[in-house]
Every structure is written in structure tokens, then in C-alpha cells.
Amino acid sequence: MKVLYFAWFRDRIGMAEEEIDLTGADKLTVRDFIHDLAGRGDGYATAFEDMNVVHVALDMQEVDHDTIIGGASEIAFYPPFTGG
């Protein structure tokens, strides 16, 4: 699955996107996946330390942390929007 990081997620993790092989995505929630990611290193841990500001989109549709990843081909992590 393609994993995208925006704004300070990208800064902290140190890359804009990566490819991660997911197994059991039909049972894995966004929250489970965040826990897996947070264990990948210091940058990830810092990026995901405050779950209140971790926003997630599956295939460009915003979802909450309880959503099952399922067949999504792209997941994106980003802080609250500040455009306009």
C-alpha cells in the first residue's frame, strides 16, 4: 500500500511517501496501523505521539481511526487542514 505523509508528518518521518506491504488489511484498523508505524523509529514515534492531530485519508477520503483499511490502495497521514 502507498503511504503518504503531509506537512509535519513528512518533516518528522523524513519522507513524503513509502510503499508498505500490509497483511490482514481486511481486519486491520487505521489505529492498528498507526501503532505499527509508531514502532518503526523515532521520527515515526514523534509524528504519531498526539493521536488527536493524526488525520487519515483512505484513497483520498477522510476516515476515523476505527476504520478498517480493507482494500484501500493509498493511505495518507496529515495534521488538521490550514488552507484558505
Partner: protein
């Protein structure tokens, strides 16, 4: 019509494009967001707008469609710039056209309120004290909230 672009836009030309050759538009409201050299107490030299390509256009189109569902609009335009911007630069343009002014005003406010809270754009400010990502404002959340449930539009 929705566009995300690095180039500047021309508010007057965009309004002309929208209403030219129409004789059913009685009111148009054009909102322009401009970059300020100061945000609260910080000096800002450059503001960099980042977006999620694909999702940004999709979100703006959905917000625009929602406005057309709620108000009798004849036409609308949303343009959001991305990339580095300098003080005084234009950031965003929203135009609404309707037979009457109330619909045009309300829809333009709605588009800005939702765009700020529901479209994937992020601002980074750079100034003498370094770079920092702009925090979301609770006042923007409140402004967006008024259009749901018992909002002004009901």
C-alpha cells in the same frame, strides 16, 4: 469550477469568465484571501502552501457541489494556490453568482468556511524565527460548524 495552481490568478478576469454573456446573474461575491506580512505577533516572510494532489481537487469539488445544493447559485469558482507565497500575494479565490445577493453572500462564506476546514491544504510560515506549520484555529472550526445542524442557512 475548481482549480489548484502555483500561478497567481486574476480575480476580475475570473469574475468576467463566470458572468460573461449571462443575464440571469443579479449578484456576485468574490472573496480573495491575501497573504499578510504578520500573523498574530509573528513576522512572516514566506508562506508555503502544501496540498494533497488529487484529494484537494476532489474536496473542493465536493464543497462546491454542496454549496450548489444549498443555495440557488448560477455559477461558482474556487481557485487555491500552492507553493511559496510572499506578503501581499493572493492565496485563494471564491466567487459565487446568484440571482439575489443573500444566496451569493451566504454561499461564499460557506465555501470559505468549509474550504478552510475540509480541504487538504497546509500552511507553513517562514520568518526571522524559522519555519513553522500553522496550527488550525478553533474559530475556523466554529465557523464551519454553523453550517451544519442549526446553522445560519436554515
Amino acid at each position: 469550477m475548481v482549480r489548484v495552481q502555483t500561478e497567481d490568478f486574476d480575480p476580475g478576469a475570473e469574475l468576467d469568465n463566470l458572468v460573461a454573456a449571462r443575464t440571469d446573474v443579479g449578484a456576485s461575491v468574490s472573496f480573495v484571501g491575501h497573504m499578510r506580512a504578520r500573523n498574530e505577533d509573528r513576522v512572516v516572510e514566506t508562506m508555503t502552501l502544501e496540498h494533497y494532489p488529487g484529494m484537494a481537487e476532489k474536496a473542493l469539488s465536493e464543497i462546491e457541489a454542496e454549496a450548489h445544493k444549498r443555495w440557488p447559485l448560477q455559477a461558482s469558482t474556487i481557485i487555491h494556490r500552492v507553493g511559496p507565497l510572499k506578503p501581499g500575494d493572493r492565496i485563494v479565490l471564491v466567487i459565487t453568482a446568484s440571482a439575489h445577493r443573500q444566496a451569493a453572500f451566504e454561499a461564499a462564506e460557506f465555501l470559505m468556511d468549509w474550504l478552510k476546514t475540509k480541504a487538504p491544504f497546509w500552511k507553513k510560515e517562514s520568518g526571522p524565527e524559522g519555519d513553522s506549520w500553522v496550527s488550525s484555529r478553533s474559530t475556523d472550526e466554529d465557523a464551519a460548524q454553523r453550517w451544519t445542524a442549526s446553522g445560519k442557512s436554515d
